[in-house]
């Protein structure tokens, strides 16, 4: 992070890296897992037969892995804002970059149409099974389409309001989804082993021959799109050169294995039907997954509905998100009309790009389902073909200048093989849908026309293809480092005295960081648009701090401010965060009053947080006349605390004089009332946070309750315990802790 001379210049911006390998893998798996095994099962069996489906999924996975390795290599060399749009601009040129963005926009939107229709099909089917649609005519084409439009509109609205697709919650949801599919596959495998006669379900193995397998591979290729989104997270990933390529490759392997397993389990699970099992399954088309589930597991159709609901929901959300993001980028760079690059003032999301993508998506809904899947697949095949061209060109043109974190093996055989195979698969799609071959190349031709007639002369000059401010963190020079997140001037200025006191007491320095939350739909490269009054607050606060106490100030762009603070604490090796939780000691302060803290109350119950609270209280109390009172309220159920021993221990550890500390033990059944009564006479209350995640989860905590009820200036302290930075407060000389006046 670029430093600045304290008080003289605006803070420098930087990006927050929050996503680890697990998050990245789950991001890729979550984008892919919704389509193939779950939704395309019936269509695959229809096209390639039972064995052909397994072979097609496996071979598709292999071809996808070749392209994934190309993405992995490029993202390791350009680990920032690494969409195919950027790769193509860097490796080939502006026209190809535009084509890549143009194709990606359409591919994502049409894939979204496909998922919306599937979601609608299953929802309508569930309602029909529950007997709620008896009053409607049997032909449900228009009903399915209308529900699909409603679903698309709902998710467009959700994206407009701003959603997160990268958090721990979505990672866990993807993990649960994958685990459910693996369970279905394993269940089918066990049933197969217990009843070997089910081998008949796989006969004939390739009823449509190898041509059927290739057609199926082409149509189902859409099931392997999604991993490329990992490359787009380059500016948010921890150790991007290492984690991006790993996550891209792992996610393709996980998804392929899951697809093959689920396909095997479902086909093996069909029992008691007339005629060959695969023909029965194929007859249901896109509803085949639900029907096969009903045969495999009791109430399986309902489980299938839930699985499809989750899968299609996440896929629909992700495709709308991707389509909006890429069209926004095209508008921002004036490759398309600049209106697409506008950002909503109210929601901070690219609302025009979102609206245009939604229109495209809704138009796709009215195509026949096979044409829809084929059109989406063909566009992704072209897109991935382009990615392989890019990896070849990048090594040839820029290989000597790039720094690679990964170089794919068997180069250039694998990218060339991927190009050839993807071309073959695209050609085979014509057997299923000639319309896809009209729509796909037609869209590309229209794009090239737009580029040469419109975008070429208007596109903004390539200022910096890869935007990322990733400057080094300013070293603290061995000082105790206090990190203070800044929202705005009103929030931060009242904290300046406490900052100063902590910095002076520990002979440390303050680092001010303003966190700018950027909506997911907007690349972090454009985050500077969101840097609002926090910058002013940071500058203003830095004016009140002496230059020797201000280590650094910065603006950090992030998706999630809490995680951004944690990132900054790690990157800057902070010893204490004032205001948030972190892996170091944390003090959350509610400031108030201007007088020195003469009478500081510390309610204690034993444990590391109480000790840390006493230590911080000793630092905050007035060094000459301040008195710290450790108060323990003894109830029937609470364990006794030796208050004298606690105070002595803290004083010894932190090299502070015990003269300024006193201890009191009161016996009562309502600790809250006693603490609040005692707090009324204190200038400052310092509380240790409640320990134990389970306790915090299931019950209201006493410190939290007191913090809400107490009107005095208050600090809640949480100890980092064993994770604490190995330079504790105790290592500092006593005069620095207690001030020059302390004996």
């Amino acid at each position: 992070m670029a430093s600045h001379s304290p008080g003289t210049a605006a803070p420098a911006p930087a990006l927050s890296r929050e996503l680890n390998l697990f998050h990245l893998v789950m991001m890729g798996v979550g984008m892919m897992i919704g389509a193939g095994a779950v939704i395309g099962m019936g269509l695959s069996v229809q096209t390639a037969g039972p064995g052909g489906t397994l072979v097609a999924f496996a071979l598709d996975g292999l071809v996808a892995l070749f392209t994934a390795m190309a993405y992995a290599e490029m993202s390791s060399a350009v680990p920032k804002a690494g969409s195919i749009y950027n790769f193509a601009r860097i490796a080939v040129g502006r026209a190809t970059g535009f084509s890549a963005g143009w194709i990606a926009w359409f591919a994502s939107a049409v894939a979204g149409s496909f998922y919306a229709v599937i979601l609608s099909e299953y929802t309508v089917e569930l309602f029909a099974r529950l007997g709620l649609l008896g009053w409607l005519p049997p032909d449900r084409y228009w009903l399915v389409r209308l529900v699909a439009v409603a679903c698309a509109a709902l998710f467009a609205l959700i994206n407009y309001r701003g959603v997160s697709s990268t958090g721990m919650a979505s990672s866990l949801l993807t993990l649960g989804q994958t685990a459910t599919l693996v369970f279905i596959g394993v269940f089918g495998l066990v049933i197969f082993l217990l009843d070997p006669s089910r081998i008949a379900n796989f006969k004939p193995f390739l009823p449509r021959g190898w041509s059927g397998v290739f057609v199926c591979m082409g149509v189902e290729y859409i099931a392997f799109e999604g991993y490329e989104v990992i490359a787009e997270a380059g500016d948010e990933a921890l150790q991007p050169r290492r984690n991006l390529p790993k996550a891209i490759i792992y996610s393709v392997l996980i998804v392929t294995a899951t697809y093959v397993l689920v396909a095997f389990g479902l086909i093996a699970g069909v029992r008691g039907v007339e005629g060959p099992a695969w023909e029965w399954l194929a007859g249901f088309g896109e509803k085949g997954f639900g029907e096969a589930m009903a045969k495999l597991i009791p109430y399986g159709s309902y489980l299938a509905f839930l699985t499809v609901l989750f899968a299609a929901t996440s896929a629909l959300n992700a495709t709308i998100f991707s389509a909006a993001r890429v069209s926004y980028a095209l508008g921002r760079d004036r490759m398309l009309p600049g209106v697409l690059g506008r950002i909503s003032a109210k929601r901070s999301t690219p609302h025009v790009a979102l609206g245009a993508s939604s229109v495209l998506l809704v138009a796709g809904i009215f195509l026949p389902i096979t044409d829809l899947a084929s059109a989406a697949s063909i566009m992704f095949l072209f897109l991935f073909l382009l990615a392989n061209v890019c990896v070849l060109r990048m090594r040839r043109r820029l290989g000597g200048e790039m720094e690679y974190g990964y170089l794919m093996p068997f180069f250039p055989v694998l990218p060339l093989a991927a190009i050839a195979l993807q071309l073959v698969l695209a050609i085979f799609i014509v057997n299923v849908s000639w319309l896809a071959w009209v729509i796909g190349p037609g869209w590309i031709a229209a794009g090239l026309l737009i580029y040469y007639l419109y975008a070429r002369s208007r596109a903004l000059p390539i200022r910096e293809e890869i935007f990322a401010v990733d400057a080094p963190v300013v070293p603290s020079g061995g000082k105790f480092r206090i990190l203070v997140p800044v929202a705005d001037a009103d929030q931060v200025l009242p904290m300046v005295p406490a900052m100063l006191r902590l910095a002076e007491s520990s002979d440390g320095g303050v680092e001010l960081v303003h966190l700018v939350a950027v909506p997911d739909q907007v690349p972090l490269a454009d985050a500077h648009r969101y840097a609002l009054p926090g910058t002013e607050g940071t500058v203003e606060a830095s004016l009140y701090l002496p230059a020797r106490r201000l280590v650094n100030s910065s603006v950090l762009y992030c998706r999630n401010p809490a995680r951004g603070i944690l990132y900054q604490a790690r990157a800057g090796r902070a010893d204490l965060i004032l205001l948030e939780r972190a892996t170091c000691d944390v003090a959350v302060m509610r400031p108030g009053g201007r007088a020195p803290f003469l009478n500081v109350l510390v309610p204690v119950s034993g444990g590391p947080n109480s000790e840390r609270a006493l230590e911080i209280a000793g630092m905050l109390a007035d060094p000459k006349n301040g008195v710290v009172t450790a108060l323990h309220v003894q109830t029937v159920r609470s364990r006794p605390v030796d208050i004298t021993e606690l105070v002595t221990k803290v004083c010894r550890q932190s090299s502070m004089s015990c003269d300024r500390f006193s201890g009191r033990v009161l016996v009562a059944e309502d600790p809250r009332a006693v603490i609040l009564r005692e707090a009324a006479a204190a200038d400052l209350v310092v509380l240790g946070a409640t320990e134990g995640r389970f306790r915090r989860l299931v019950a209201a905590t006493l410190p939290g309750d007191i913090a809400r009820s107490c009107d005095r200036p208050l600090v809640i302290v949480r100890s980092a315990g064993r994770h604490r930075h190995p330079r504790p407060l105790a290592d500092l000389p006593s005069r620095q802790i207690a001030g020059p006046g302390t004996p």
């Binding site: 064995g51 397994l54 072979v55 496996a58 071979l59 996975g61 292999l62 892995l65 390795m69 992995a72 390791s76 197969f192 082993l193 217990l194 070997p196 006669s197 081998i199 796989f202 006969k203 004939p204 193995f205 390739l206 150790q239 050169r241 290492r242 390529p245 790993k246 490759i249 792992y250 393709v252 392997l253 392929t256 294995a257 093959v260 090594r395 290989g399 000597g400 200048e401 790039m402 720094e403 690679y404 974190g405 990964y406 170089l407 794919m408 093996p409």
Partner: protein
């Protein structure tokens, strides 16, 4: 061999081995998955090596030169 093995797994294996078309197909699928795993393992090793030794530019291999 007794009980469950004789009644379930043994006939299953016999049936599977007899069915060459099915076995051939499954072996093909397994081979493809195995190839994917090998590529993944090789890639992982490269990533870790590059991470350990630091990122590097691409140096085209010259005949007889193993540096590339």
């Amino acid at each position: 061999m007794s009980g469950p093995w004789r009644d379930t797994v043994e006939p299953a294996i016999t049936l599977l081995i007899m069915d060459t078309e099915f076995i051939g197909g499954i072996v093909l699928v397994a081979a493809v998955l195995a190839a994917m795993i090998v590529l993944t393992v090789v890639s992982r090793a490269r990533i870790e090596r590059f991470h350990r030794e630091g990122p590097r530019p691409f140096v085209p291999r010259i005949r007889g030169d193993r540096r590339g």
